[in-house]
């Protein structure tokens, strides 16, 4: 059975015990139980006596993550990603909402194409919100009908991949958006200034002989749009901010009360332009690489010019990355957004300068954020705020772990490590320079809108009621609980049969393997609640 559920599954009921609950919306950071009854967070006392119990001690539970910038590539570019695969990647990364950017073929530039995406995403593994094209065909010339698009439920418009090159077009768009309360989501890049460049200008670009993208390419566009936002009273959201100078301009604009918001990607926080030269340290680690000493070491043939490091905007200098981290920490940067940009192998297995820009990020965003937290560069609550509550609020969603709220949460093991491998990714593509690296933080469960959309690695010890009963009483459990409906009916019948609510443990039926082996071997094929497969039997225990 799949480790993924969907947002159209039946609502879940369970008790999560002993988790460290971090909820920025309530200023909460404490260990407590979380009860979910029919998809709603509830008082544990209201939980049915035989509801599944999940021991989450040692894990962190936070509101579900919300990505403002995801490329799902469907329609038209399904070799890179689909709505189904992209939302599975989202769920695996702890995201319960993703905002699909309009870089598709064709781009969503009318209400019909927006509805097509929303219909397609009806049974996805995370909620999909749509960012429509700002101009017809993302051509930069003719603004889309934002009134009509707003009625179809979009969360903003953007020509992401390029800025609105014409100030007049941008102004016209903002004038239309002002009364709708929707943002122009701007990819801030002056195309002529950045023309021909493939990485960030600086010592590393000079060393590598690669054309460099100057800071002014971003700053000039940010300054223009701040002026337009002030003039029109409309909302401009700058996405994937990459330079300290542009951040400072936004900081000043916010102080003046201009309606601007911004996000930054995890890779612009954690990675630097030295990665293009083969350096593999995080921005907050000991400075090294080419920027520190152009003659310090020969380029590593295995890592230098890795096309996976080509992104747009390009990876920044260490100084920029640290300034951006500070911007997240002090709240100037509203959100961390992945800019998850999947590409098929043929678009990345080429010369650096010919490679399509972009890297995947849904499955690594939380880990990179946790790495920053581990380093002391960021507080956990601020990380969760930037990944969850704040971006959600920008698109009109709420995130809360208070009783009565819809259960929308992620459970992760902040201390665990995982090694990123291409074959283990839920995304169709694997274009990330993090492949092979060990990262902190493992998502154990994602619940979107009251439905479990992902669960993996929750040790059988962590679950109690029902597992033995399910296996013995319901053979369907042993063939993998193929559907949510089956799972639900099993649970319902378990309840009807009066299954014991005492603690149970799972053990191998025919061997004395360890419990960790149980978890490892059954996580992807066992029954929904106890994760044990047909080769494992579960028994009651008085412990």
């Amino acid at each position: 059975m799949s480790i993924f559920g969907s947002i159209s599954d039946p609502a879940a009921t369970f008790l999560l015990t002993g988790a460290r609950v971090v909820d920025p919306s309530a200023g909460e950071d404490r260990v407590r139980d979380l009860a979910v009854v029919d998809g709603l967070l509830a008082d544990p006392a209201a939980l049915p006596a035989d509801a599944p119990r999940i021991d989450a001690s040692g894990f962190v539970a936070t509101p579900g993550l919300c990505d403002l910038h995801t490329h799902l590539r469907e329609p038209g570019l399904e070799r890179a990603e689909t709505i189904a695969s992209g939302t599975r990647a989202a769920a695996r990364g702890g995201f319960t909402t993703v905002c699909a950017m309009p870089n598709t073929d064709p781009p969503p530039d009318d209400s019909e194409s927006v509805r097509w995406i929303l219909d397609r995403a009806g049974g996805a593994a995370s909620r999909v919100r749509v960012v429509a094209a700002a101009t017809q065909g993302r051509g930069g010339e003719q603004p889309t009908n934002v009134v009509e698009l707003a009625a179809s439920g979009i969360v903003g418009v953007s020509d992401d991949g390029a800025a609105i090159g014409s100030g007049a077009v941008a102004r016209e768009l903002l004038a239309g958006l002002a009364s709708l309360g929707l943002p122009l989501i701007e990819h801030a890049e002056d195309a002529r200034t950045a023309q021909g460049s493939v990485m960030r200008a600086g010592p590393t670009a000079t060393r590598l002989g690669l054309a460099g993208w100057p800071e002014s390419a971003e700053l000039s566009m940010v300054e223009r749009d701040i002026a337009l936002a002030e003039e029109t009273g409309a909302w401009v959201h700058f996405t994937h901010l990459s330079t300290a100078g542009a951040l400072e301009a936004i900081r000043r604009a916010k102080r003046r009360g201009i309606r601007v918001t911004c996000d930054v990607t995890p890779h612009h926080l954690a990675l630097t332009d030295d990665w293009v030269a083969g350096w593999r340290g995080f921005a907050w680690e000991e400075p090294g690489g080419v920027a520190a000493d152009p003659f310090g070491a020969p380029l590593d043939a295995a890592l230098a010019y890795d096309p996976a490091c080509r992104v747009n905007p390009p990876l920044a200098s260490r100084g920029d990355a640290m300034a951006l981290l500070a911007g997240v920490a002090d709240g100037t940067i509203d959100a961390i957004a992945t800019d998850h940009a999947p590409h098929p192998r043929e678009r990345k297995g080429v010369e650096f300068g010919a490679a399509a820009p972009g890297m995947i990020g849904l499955e690594t965003a939380l880990s990179l954020g946790l790495a920053a937290v581990e380093s002391g560069s960021l507080e956990l609550v601020r990380l969760i705020e930037a990944l969850s509550t704040k971006p959600a609020s920008l698109i009109g969603e709420t995130r809360s772990l208070a009783a009565g709220s819809v259960a929308d949460l992620v459970v992760f093991d902040a201390g665990a490590r995982w090694r990123l491998g291409a074959s283990g990714l839920a995304s169709t593509s694997s274009n990330t320079p993090l492949l092979g690296m060990e990262l902190p933080g493992v998502v154990r469960m994602t619940v979107a809108g009251g439905r479990i959309t992902y669960r993996d690695g929750l040790d059988a010890r962590r679950l109690s009621p029902g597992c033995g009963t399910m296996r013995t009483a319901h053979p369907a459990a042993s063939d993998g609980c193929r559907s949510a409906r089956t799972r639900n009916s099993i649970r319902m019948r378990d309840q009807a049969s009066g299954a014991s609510s005492g603690r149970r443990s799972c053990s191998p039926a025919s061997s004395s393997s360890s419990l960790s082996a149980c978890s490892a071997s059954t996580g992807r094929s066992g029954c929904w609640w106890c994760f044990s497969s047909s080769t494992w039997s579960c028994s009651s225990s008085s412990a």
Binding site: A304, E351, F352
Partner: protein, 315 residues
């Protein structure tokens, strides 16, 4: 026969599979390359049979126009007894959109053991080295590196000046877009020389702070007491293209080399140029033809240096 250069560094297997840039070579390896080239040149002059690559196939994959580099590699490979396959890009599947990796794998599968790659994109040889099993020799990639030209220049300078330790070498012109200059910065500083850069600000500013490298504000500062001067080719197609210079005429007026400007350097200081020259632009025709000019020697050193590289990689 024994391997040339065996005396210079006792036995020893050459530790590198590819030559991607001179930055990967230690000082001893740099000197070994030059010593092997000298020995190759002498044996070639004596018309000794050098069959060190007999049975091997060297593929030339030049994705950019080239005359001297391409010819010198071809002559070097043949002088070592190798077969040479010349992948004529304009007539190959590359023109039909075949990727670089696919092209090189095809070459490898047809028995090519060493691929000499020139490519307009910086870093292409690094992609090649991790994508196919053949040995890769970088014959110039984008604006990044041209290691064999740097070895040619180092040999030419060493023979003109003696050991380069403590010598001042001025490099003049479009440094920023020059793969020759970058590789020379590595090799010359590794050999103990100090490198002075001079040219329009936009073309030199990025190199400020590089160890062993000084960015001069004025051409005169770079030239004064220079032991040797290296002029770079101005890419005519770039004229006024990136705004660094208003026109070639202005460039020549401010940065062009003639005998009068060269007089600031040490007496008889040699002039190098990787070619092809734009006479009357970066250097005068008279200077190019003067006694100072080692341009012809550079060309002549091209074959033995490439013989040294091909033979060392095959060890």
């Amino acid at each position: 026969m024994s391997w040339p250069g065996a005396d210079a560094q006792a036995a020893g297997v050459w530790p590198h599979r590819h030559l991607l840039d001179v930055d990967q070579l230690t000082l001893a390896e740099l000197e070994q390359c030059l010593d092997v080239a000298v020995e190759m040149r002498e044996r070639r002059t004596r018309r000794e049979a050098l069959d060190l690559l007999r049975g091997e196939v060297v593929g030339l994959a030049f994705h950019e126009p080239s005359t001297r580099t391409r010819v010198s590699f071809e002559l070097a490979a043949k002088a070592l007894g190798a077969e040479v396959v010349d992948l004529r890009i304009e007539a190959s599947s590359v023109s039909k959109g075949e990727s670089l990796v696919d092209t090189l794998r095809t070459l490898e599968q047809t028995g090519v053991s060493t691929i000499v790659l020139r490519h307009p994109m910086s870093g292409a040889p690094y992609l090649a080295a991790r994508s196919c099993g053949a040995r890769i020799v970088n014959a110039g990639d984008g604006t990044h590196a041209h290691p064999t030209q740097a070895l040619v220049d180092a040999l030419t300078l060493r023979e003109a000046l003696g050991p380069l330790e403590g010598k001042k070498i001025a490099i003049v012109g479009d440094i920023g877009h020059s793969r020759v200059a970058r590789s020379n910065m590595h090799s010359l500083t590794a050999l103990g020389a100090s490198v002075w850069l001079a040219g329009p600000r936009a073309w030199v500013a990025g190199f400020a702070g590089w160890p062993g490298v000084t960015v001069a504000d004025r051409l005169e500062d770079a030239l004064v007491d220079a032991d040797a001067v290296m002029a770079l080719r101005i890419q005519l197609e770039r004229e006024a293209g990136d705004g660094a210079v208003a026109s070639l005429r202005e460039y020549t007026a401010e940065w062009g080399l003639d005998e009068a400007r060269m007089s600031r350097a040490r007496p008889g200081a040699p002039l190098l140029h990787p070619g092809p020259t734009n006479e009357g632009v970066e250097i005068t025709a008279e200077l190019a033809a003067s006694k100072r000019s080692l341009i012809g020697t550079q060309v002549a050193n091209g074959v033995p240096i490439r013989m040294a590289v091909l033979s060392l990689l095959a060890r």
